[in-house]
């Protein structure tokens, strides 16, 4: 029984670490535009490194038919755009200051982060 309890606590620790504490690797933005695929409940890549003080164009390609994925929001820049299914959509972001900015679907189930600087 002690082992089972220990396993449970370890599992909880693992969840906390994996979902909340761990900072995964970053994807860099290419020279022109970075393609972000919206599929299977995720943005791929979901952590994107961007240069400071420079407008950037991101291209989204939505492959997921779920209506949740149809809108992408960048709350810090007051940007929200509809993403057509199986077609690309470019979104131009303004010059950004150093920092981390979240983007997500309306229901926060698809989540990504822009790392500027």
């Amino acid at each position: 029984m002690i082992l089972v309890n220990l396993a449970g606590v370890l599992l909880i620790a693992l969840i906390v670490w994996w979902f909340w504490l761990y900072k995964p690797g970053e994807a860099s933005v290419a020279d022109s535009a970075l393609l972000i695929t919206v599929a299977d409940g995720t943005y791929q890549p979901s952590r994107i490194k961007l240069p400071e003080n420079q407008p950037v164009t991101l291209t989204f390609l939505r492959k997921d038919p779920s209506p949740c994925s149809a809108t992408v929001l960048f709350p810090a820049f007051d940007i929200n755009e509809e993403l057509p299914l199986n077609a690309s959509k470019t979104i131009t972001l303004p010059e950004m200051q150093k920092g981390e900015y979240a983007f997500s679907c309306q229901m926060q189930m698809y989540r990504g982060t822009l790392i500027v600087g």
Binding site: M1, V4, N5, G8, L11, I12, I15, V16, W18, F19, W20, Y22, P24, A39, D40, G41, T42, Y43, Q44, S46, P65, S66, P67, C68, A70, T71, L73, P75, D78, N80, E81, E82, P84, L85, N86, Q106, M107, Q108, M109, Y110, R111
Partner: protein, 741 residues
């Protein structure tokens, strides 16, 4: 690769060869073919669109990409939604066709336990069938869960995959190693896995349908855009696709037809129904020089107009764009729900583990079975979607509803603040009144006759665009009075104007101006006051330092202002009038429309101070004006409302644009925003309560008291319908009628 460009400014045969040559000269272009009638060029090659546009530009023409229209995007979206709906229904049918018989068996016929080897074999078969269902009908949950997991993210898929996966895995352990478990715990839960997958697919399918209905308002707006236009090119009428209409095209409109693009009437006379955009039921007369707007319907006459805004620039396209953006933006009230939704899934996973551990340590036998059931049920019942959907769905419907009433709300934040307004400042001219003042009295006090006074006054005011000035000039024109020659002119903001007319120095303005220039008006003041008490605006006119006349101008109150102001007051809003007029006139107008508080003699630049004054008193202040000279006040107010004159869309300084002149739009805006906020609160409350009550019950908190433990199947049904309930409640707003409130 084929690219189609729309060419502007090409209208001769020689243009065709010029453009084609300019394009084919590019190395990356194999072929370029222009269609002059359609105004398009189709290019075959590898060149980028930018290169092509540049080449056309260098040849002296303008090109743009033919973009997918809103209507195409919408119909594609509907097609995609329909396909997704069908897929979900198919998957649901398959999953339930296994789940329901299994559940019926478990409830009424036999035990879902594993004892004999025959039973093991039978359940193994069922288990494999269930696996088939999981792969066929639940693939998207497992794939989504896995991909999110790799991204250190967790969503609804994660919960469903974990819940159904746990139930299935435990059941398979029972089938393969029954002796590893106590006898009472040898129970299989294949029916739960199949039922949950089926029910959640059903919930998603119904949600897709219900979501479709939330965008009805935007669909209606998009539907206003006609597909073709009849333009006159080279003296001939041709019907072309709407995308091919270019600036300065002459467009012919016959009775009953829709206006395809924005423009200015060149010939003809007609009445146009603009109600679909402005909410104004009366058709508007149009004659040469008047603007017409895409999407409105021509009633009686025929006109020819010159296109001045096409494609994405038309008022209709901008309205659609603005409504879409506002529909997707979030009011601050949703932020807490967003924060919770962000950490929700891992938190639920932790609760499931804790719940299982508690059952294992303290629960009755068979503890393993109880632990598995409670953990599965917790994972399945938790619904982050209801939380996430609560706000956006209502905003979507509310903003659309407002647009139908001719009210354009810029953002979710404006919507929320508008619902909290406690005080509303109304600018008098053009807001409460029509903004078209007319000269009613000319009271002479000197040696000049009426004609001469009006002629000099009109000369002085001819340079000004102030509505009062315009009324003087119009009055002179109507009476056929010769306007004198203006030699000098100076406007004194808040006071009036001065100048030199026909050699005489003239002053025209309010009492303050006369006092400042030491002009005796003592005898005239009572006359002016009488005029003011009749809601007219008296102005003093002096020639060479002597008062010559008092000219009174009246700006009639809009017919429905009184009723609309009463609606606002009935909603508990403190209505305050603001005007540059003198106190007596302001008081008379305020009286007429039933307003007890007003700010009179306010200089244009001081309007914002009055907004601040009310804010200091703790009011949430709405400011309504025409958006032109009151921009700072609109911007400072908690919510700025701009009253449009027909079709000026999206006035920059305003949070809300009222497309029709009536103040009823204002009352509608407030009614819709209040109803929407109430709807959001209901949704958020429902979603919170659902999760706050559902998760502990699923974990078995009621078991020690009532012996009650939810079945995972019930949890699946509850979860599937909780988000549907949110969408359905938001859809109720569609039937909200602002006029009734």
């Amino acid at each position: 690769m084929h690219t189609t460009l729309i060419i502007e400014g090409a209208n001769c045969a020689s243009c065709v060869s010029k453009i084609e040559t300019a394009l084919t000269r590019l190395e990356s272009v194999d072929e370029a073919a222009m269609n002059l009638a359609q105004g398009t060029v189709t290019v075959n090659g590898t060149a980028s669109t930018e290169t092509l546009i540049q080449a056309v530009d260098l040849a002296g023409y303008r090109a743009r990409i033919s973009e997918a229209s809103d209507e195409d995007l919408l119909s594609e979206k509907e097609k995609a939604d329909e396909a997704y709906y069908k897929r979900l229904i198919r998957e649901m049918t398959i999953a339930l066709s296994l789940g329901i018989p299994l559940m019926v068996y478990g409830l009424f016929i036999g035990e879902m336990t594993v004892e004999t080897n025959t039973e093991r074999l039978a359940w193994l078969l069922v288990g494999l069938l269930t696996l088939g269902i999981m792969v066929y009908a639940g693939k998207h949950f497992y794939l989504g869960a896995w991909k999110s997991l790799l991204n250190h993210n967790a969503n609804m898929d994660t919960l469903i995959a974990l819940g159904t996966g746990t139930a299935w895995l435990y059941s398979m352990v029972v089938v393969f190693f029954p002796h590893a478990l106590p006898e009472m715990a040898r129970h299989v839960y294949f029916e739960a896995t199949a039922m949950i997958i089926g029910l959640i697919n059903l919930g998603l399918a119904l949600e897709v349908k219900a979501r479709g209905r939330t965008s009805e308002a935007i669909k209606r707006l998009i539907g206003l855009q006609p597909k073709t236009a009849r333009v006159i090119r080279d003296g001939e009428d041709i019907d072309i696709e709407i995308e091919q209409v270019v600036l300065d095209d002459l467009v012919r409109i016959r009775p009953g037809e829709k206006i395809p693009v924005d423009g200015v009437v060149r010939e003809g006379h007609t009445a146009v129904d603009e109600s679909m955009l402005t909410g104004e039921p009366m058709p508007v007369e149009k004659t040469a020089g008047d603007e017409v707007v895409a999407g409105t319907i021509n009633k009686t006459g025929s006109i020819i107009f010159v296109a001045n805004r096409v494609g994405k620039d038309t008022a209709l396209a901008r309205i659609i764009d603005m409504v879409k953006r506002a529909q997707n933006s979030k009011p601050p009230i949703g932020r807490l729900a967003d924060v919770i939704a962000g950490i929700f899934v891992p938190a639920v996973m932790i609760i499931a583990i804790v719940s299982a551990l508690v059952w294992l340590n303290f629960g009755p036998e068979p503890t393993v079975a109880f632990a598995v059931v409670s953990a599965t049920t917790v994972l399945i019942i938790a619904c982050p979607c209801a939380l996430g959907l609560a706000t956006p769905m209502s905003v979507m419907v509310g903003v659309g509803k407002a647009a139908e009433a001719g009210v354009l709300i810029r953002s979710g934040e404006a919507l929320q603040t508008a619902s909290k307004i406690t005080a509303m400042i109304l600018d008098k001219t053009g807001t409460i009144t029509r903004g078209q003042p007319r000269v009613t009295d000319i009271h002479l006090t000197g040696d000049h006759d009426e004609e001469r006074v009006l002629g000099m006054a009109a000369a002085l005011e001819s340079g000004s665009e102030h509505p009062l000035a315009v009324s003087i000039v119009e009055s002179a024109n109507e009476r056929g009075v010769a306007v004198e020659k203006l030699e000098q002119f100076k406007a004194i903001a808040g006071y009036g104007v001065e100048g030199v007319v026909a050699g005489g120095s003239v002053l025209f303005g309010n009492e303050k101006l006369m006092h400042e220039r030491n002009i005796g008006i003592d005898k005239a003041v009572s006359i002016a006051q009488n005029m003011a008490s009749e809601a007219k605006t008296p102005m003093y006119f002096a020639v060479d330092g002597k008062l010559a006349a008092i000219i009174a101008v009246e700006d009639p109150v809009k017919e429905d202002s009184i009723a609309a102001i009463r609606r606002l007051q009935h909603d508990g809003i403190r209505v305050v009038m603001l005007t540059g007029d003198n106190r007596a006139t302001a008081s008379a107008v305020a009286d007429k429309v039933g307003i007890s508080e007003f700010f009179a003699e306010v200089l244009p630049e001081d309007k914002a101070d009055k907004v601040a004054e009310l804010q200091m008193q703790g009011e949430v202040v709405g400011m309504t004006g025409d958006g032109i000279n009151d921009a700072p006040a609109l911007a400072l107010a908690n919510v700025g409302f701009a009253i449009g004159t027909g079709t000026d869309v999206a006035i920059e300084s305003a949070d809300v644009t009222l497309m029709r002149g009536s103040l009823h739009g204002l009352a509608d805006a407030i009614a819709v925003s209040r109803a929407t906020l109430q709807n959001i609160k209901q949704n958020l409350f429902g979603a919170f309560i659902y999760n706050v009550a559902g998760i502990p019950i699923a974990a078995g908190i009621l078991y020690p008291f009532f012996g009650l433990l939810l079945s995972p199947v019930i949890a699946g049904a509850a979860m599937a319908f909780s988000s549907l309930t949110v969408v359905t409640n938001a859809n109720r707003l569609r039937f909200f009628n602002p006029q009734e409130h």
